[in-house]
Symmetry: D3
Subunit: 226 residues, 6 copies
C-alpha cells in the first residue's frame, strides 16, 4: 500500500476511538514535535462511532469493528490507536494487512521499560486499573509493573488544568508506595500535564500517544529498507 | 543540551563498541532511511578501545568504561550502543546525564514484542545464547521469549553473503521448533540480511540497530515537548 | 434476575458464537450428563450473527457485541460462551449484570490444572495457537502451559470421525515433546473424541464445554446461599 | 468404580481433616444447595485422627496418610479434602485410583480467578499466610495473587458470629491495600459469613468447600461421557 | 543446642528417608571430603520406616512424620534430608526447633543456579519428573529450569556402573535439547557418577547430598556468630 | 589448580571491591567462624583501584576489569566478590578459569530462600534498591522477593553502632509492610549488626559475606571428589 515512488507523502493515521473533541485536539497538539517538514503526514481523527469516554470493557469492545473497518478502508501507511485500552489491537493488525498498527498503551509501556525498573500507570478510574492489570499480564510484563492508581475522571476531563494536582498525587503514590520509578500516563488526553508531573515527582513521565506515533514514524521510515 | 534555536542540528551518536570497520560500515548503511533532510544528524563511530568482536562477558565488560567516557565527553543529543550485549547500558545512562541512551538488544526485543507473541534471537555463538538468556531475564521478558539459536560466527562475519543461509536456518528453527513468531537479529552487522530472512521464513524480522536509532530519533524529537 | 420462588426452573444458556449447526449439535450432545431431572435447564443456541468458524482475531471480536446484546436481553440465570477463544468474556460479564458467565477456554484450562502439572491444548490452527498463547498469558497461567499444537481444521470439521487420528497425534506430541500431562480440547465441537483420545494417550483429556457448563451448574445452585 | 446401572446412587465424600465438630457441621450446612433430589449423595465426615485445628505444616502433614487410607478404603465416587491447606492432595489422588479428589484451596482459588483480576485470601493466622504463599507458588498462580491477611483465629472459632467483623476487616485490607478484587475464604468453616462479607466489601467472596464440592459434582456427572 | 564449649563436637545428621543400604552407603562415601579433622561430625543414617525407593508422592509423604520424629528426638546440630523429593522439609524445620534442616533437592538446585543460566535434572522416573516440576514451581525457580529427563530406575539402581551411560544420555538431552547448561543429579545415590558425567558432557554436574551437607556445615560453623 | 598433595593449603581470596578499610576489616572479622584449623586459608583484601563506596552502577562497572585481572593473576583456589552489587561476577568467572567465584548478593539471597518464603533486602540507598530489583530479576527470583528498603548510608557507615536502629527499622518495614519473612543484609559491612537485628525482628537475618565464603569453603572441599 505505501507507494514511495508516487508524489503522495507517507501518512500516519492516529485514531482516537472515543468521540471527544477535547481529547482529539489534545492528542493532535501533543504530536507537533513529530511532524517533520518532509516526514510522514500525521493526521488525528476521532471515531464517530465511539462513545464520549471509554470506561468499561464494553466501551472498548464496541469500537473494535468500526476501528477495523476504518483501517481497512484507509490508505494510510501506518495507524495508531489512541486509547489506553488498546482496543482491538490484534484485529486492527489483521485489518491493516501488513501496515504497522501501534497501540498507545503498548508503546507507552515499552518506552517506560527503558526509563526505569518498574513502571506505574496513572489510570482514569478503578475500572481502568483492573483492565490495565489484565493488559499488562497479557503483554507478559508483570515483573516490571508497579501498579496503577486511578484519578477517577472521564477521558475528556484529563485535558484541563483542574486535574493536574490529582495526576501528580497519583504519580507520587505510584513512586512512593508502589515502588514505580517511571510513570506512564494512562489516557490519551493527558499530554499537557506530562512535563509538570515529571518536574513534580522527579522521575520520567511517558505520554503514550507521542510514543506510539514516534514508533509509527520509525516503522514508516524503515519500511522500504532491504 | 539539545538547542533547537541554535544553528547546530540535533545529533544522534551511534557507537559500535567493537572496532570492526566492516560492522561499523554495515550499521551506517542500515540507518540510511532514518536520515531525514532536516532531522537529527546520525553519526556512527567505532570504539577504538573495543575488541574485534565481543564474544565473551569479559569482552562486553571491557568496553563499559570507555563507552561511558565517550558519552560523557560527547555533546550528542542521544546515544545508541550498537552491540547486542547492550554493554554498560545503565552506566552509559548515568554518564549521559539525562540524554537518552538506547541499547540495540533492548529496542530490537521491544519492537519484536509488537510483531508477534514470542520472539526468538539469531545469536552469534553458544556463548551469546547464555548471555541473552540472562539479559532477557533481567528485562523481565521471559514469558515472551522463545529462545536463541547460534550461527557460530564472529561479528564481522555476519555482514557477508556467506552467512545468509545459516541465518535463515537459525531463524527457521526458532520458528518451527521453539515457537517464535518474530525474529530479532542478535548482532549489529546483520542488517543486509534482514529482508532476505523475512522473505524466507514468512515472519517479521527485526534489525536491532534500526530500531534503537528510530527510538533515539523519537526521543530527540520529543525532548522539547512541555 | 434468578427468581427461585417462581415456577420457572433455573436456566443456563450456552451460546455457540459461530453459526455452525454441526458444532451446536455436538455441544448439545456433550452436555447430556449435566442435565438433571430437577436441575437447571441447559439450552444450547448458536449466534445467528456469528461466522461459520472463528479462525481469526477479527472473527472473535466480531461476535462480542452481538453476544453481549443476547446476554443482556435473555433472562437466563447463567451463560456459557462456547467458543475456545472466550470471545468477549469480560464484556459479557458486564452485560450479564451479576449473573455468572463462563468461558469454555477458561474452564477447560482451570479443570486441567487439577489433573496434571502442565496442560497442552489441541488447537484448530496455527493462528489459534498464537491466540491461545496470548490468552494463557492474560490468565497468568504460563507456568503451567506446555503449549498448543494445531490440527489445521475448521470448527465444523472437528466433529466427524475423519479428524480423530490427527487429534490423537497432536495430543501425543503435546505429551511426548512438549511435556504436557493433561490435554485440553481447544474447540467446542471435539467432545465426541474425548474418551478415544484419553484412551490412546493414557492421560486426562478435558472437554471444555462440559467443564464450563458444570461450573455454571455449580454457580447456579450456589447463588441463593446466604 | 461409579456404577450408574446399579441402585446405589453416586456419592461424594467430603473429609474434614481436623476433628472439630463445629467445623464439620458448618461445612455440611454450606453444601445444602448442592444436594439435588436425584444427584449424588454428599456426605461430610471428620477425620478422627485429625487435630482440633490445622495450624502448622506438621498438623497438615500429619493427616496425609490417614486421609489416603480413608480414601483408598472408601467406595465413594469422588472426594473433597475440606481443609484450606489441601493436605496430601497428590497422595490422595494416587490413593483414589482415578476417582476425582478435589482440594478446597485449589477450587476456591480457581473459582476466584473467574471473578476478578487478583484474588486475596482471608487466612486464619500468620503461619497460614506463609503456607498459602508457598501453595500459590506451587500452583503457578502468583501473577493473580494479591496476598493473604490473617485474622489470628483457630479453625473452630471461624464459625461463630464473633469473628465476622475481623473477617470483613481482613477482606477490606486485601481489597484496598493489596489490590485484590475477589476474596477467597481461607478456612473450611467460614461459609456462614460469606454473604455478609460480600455485602460489606462489594466484591465477590468465594467459599471454598462449596466450590470444591460443586467441582466434584460436575466431575461425577461427567464421568460416564464417552 | 550447639555447645562449642563442651567436649561434644558439633554433629550433622544426614537422614536417607529410604531404607536402601546401597544408597545410604553411597551417600556416606560422597561426603568424605566434607569431614574435617576438627569439623562437625557427619553421620549418615537410613530411616528404618522408609520404603526401599521413594517413587510416588505417597512414598514421599509416608516418611514425613517418622522423619519429623527422628529430628525432634535427635540432639544433632543440623540435619540433611537426603532424598531428592525433599520430603517434609517444612515440617522437619518445625520439628528442628531452630536448628538448620537442609534438603538435597533444594541445595542441589541452588548450587546449580550459580553454575549456569538454566539447570536440568536427571530424574529417576517419569513420576519424579512431574514431582520435580511441582517442586521447582513451589521454589519459584521456573525461570531457571530447563527441565527433567528420566532414566527409569529405582533409587538403589543408581549406584552401580550399569546406569552410567543412561545418566550421561539424560544429561546430554537436557543440555542439547532442553537448553540446560548445568545439571543436577536427581537422586541421593548418584554421587559415584558425578565426575564421569561432567567429563562426558563438558558442563558442571551437581551432586545434591554434597551440596546440602556443605550448606549444613556452613550453617553449623556460623551459628555462634554474634 | 588446588594441589592437595603439596604443602600449600587451599586458599579462598575474598575481595572487597571498594577501598574502605573499615569495611574490609568488618568482613574479615565476620569470617572468623569459617576459619578452621586445617581448613582452607581465608584472606580478605581490598581492591586498591576501587572507590570508597560503590553507590552507582558506574562505581560497580568500574571495578570489573581490575577485579578480573586480580583473579586471573592470583593462585587462590576460590574467590568471593564482597560487594552486594556482585560486580562483574560472570567476567570474574571467566577470569577464574574453572575455579569457583562466589558473589555475596547471590549467596546471601540463595541462603535466604531456605529460611523463609519471601526475602527482603536492607539496602544502602534508593539507588541500590533499583539495582537490586534488576539483579533479582536477572537471577529469576522475583517470585520470592518482597522488596528492598534503603537506610541511606555509605558503605563505610554501615559498620558503626550509629546505624543499627535504622537497619532494624528497615528490616521491620520489610517484614511488616512488604511481607518478607527473611532478611538479607545488602552490604558487605553489616555483619556486626546481624544478630541484633535478628533478635529485634524475630526472623532470620542473613549476612551475605559469611554465606558466600561458606559456599566457597564447600566448593573448595568438594573439588577433588571423583
Amino acid at each position: 500500500m505505501p507507494d514511495p515512488g508516487s508524489i503522495r507523502p507517507a501518512r500516519i493515521l492516529v485514531i482516537n476511538p472515543n468521540s471527544s473533541r477535547t481529547v482529539t485536539a489534545a492528542i493532535d497538539a501533543a504530536l507537533g514535535p513529530l511532524r517533520l517538514p518532509v516526514g510522514p503526514d500525521i493526521t488525528v481523527t476521532a471515531l464517530p462511532e465511539g462513545p464520549e469516554s471509554i470506561s468499561s470493557q464494553q466501551d472498548a469492545d464496541r469500537v473494535v469493528m468500526p476501528l477495523a473497518r476504518r483501517i481497512a478502508e484507509d490508505s494510510a501507511d501506518a495507524f495508531v490507536i489512541a486509547c489506553f485500552s488498546d482496543p482491538g489491537l490484534q484485529t486492527a493488525r489483521e485489518a491493516a494487512a501488513g501496515r504497522p498498527v501501534m497501540g498507545i498503551a503498548e508503546w507507552g509501556i515499552l518506552r517506560a521499560l527503558t526509563l526505569g525498573e518498574r513502571f506505574g500507570i496513572v489510570a482514569l478510574s478503578e475500572g481502568s486499573v483492573h483492565r490495565q492489570r489484565r493488559m499488562v499480564r497479557q503483554m507478559g510484563l508483570g515483573e516490571r509493573y508497579a501498579g496503577s492508581r486511578p484519578v477517577e475522571a472521564r477521558a475528556d476531563e484529563t485535558v484541563g488544568e483542574a486535574i493536574r494536582a490529582r495526576l501528580i498525587t497519583a504519580a507520587r503514590i505510584l513512586i512512593e508506595r508502589d515502588g514505580a520509578d517511571a510513570i506512564v500516563l494512562g489516557c490519551a488526553g493527558m499530554a499537557p500535564h506530562r512535563m509538570a508531573i515529571e518536574r513534580a515527582i522527579g522521575r520520567p513521565v511517558v505520554e503514550p500517544c507521542q510514543q506510539a506515533v514516534a514508533a509509527a514514524l520509525g516503522a514508516v521510515l524503515l519500511r522500504e529498507v532491504p
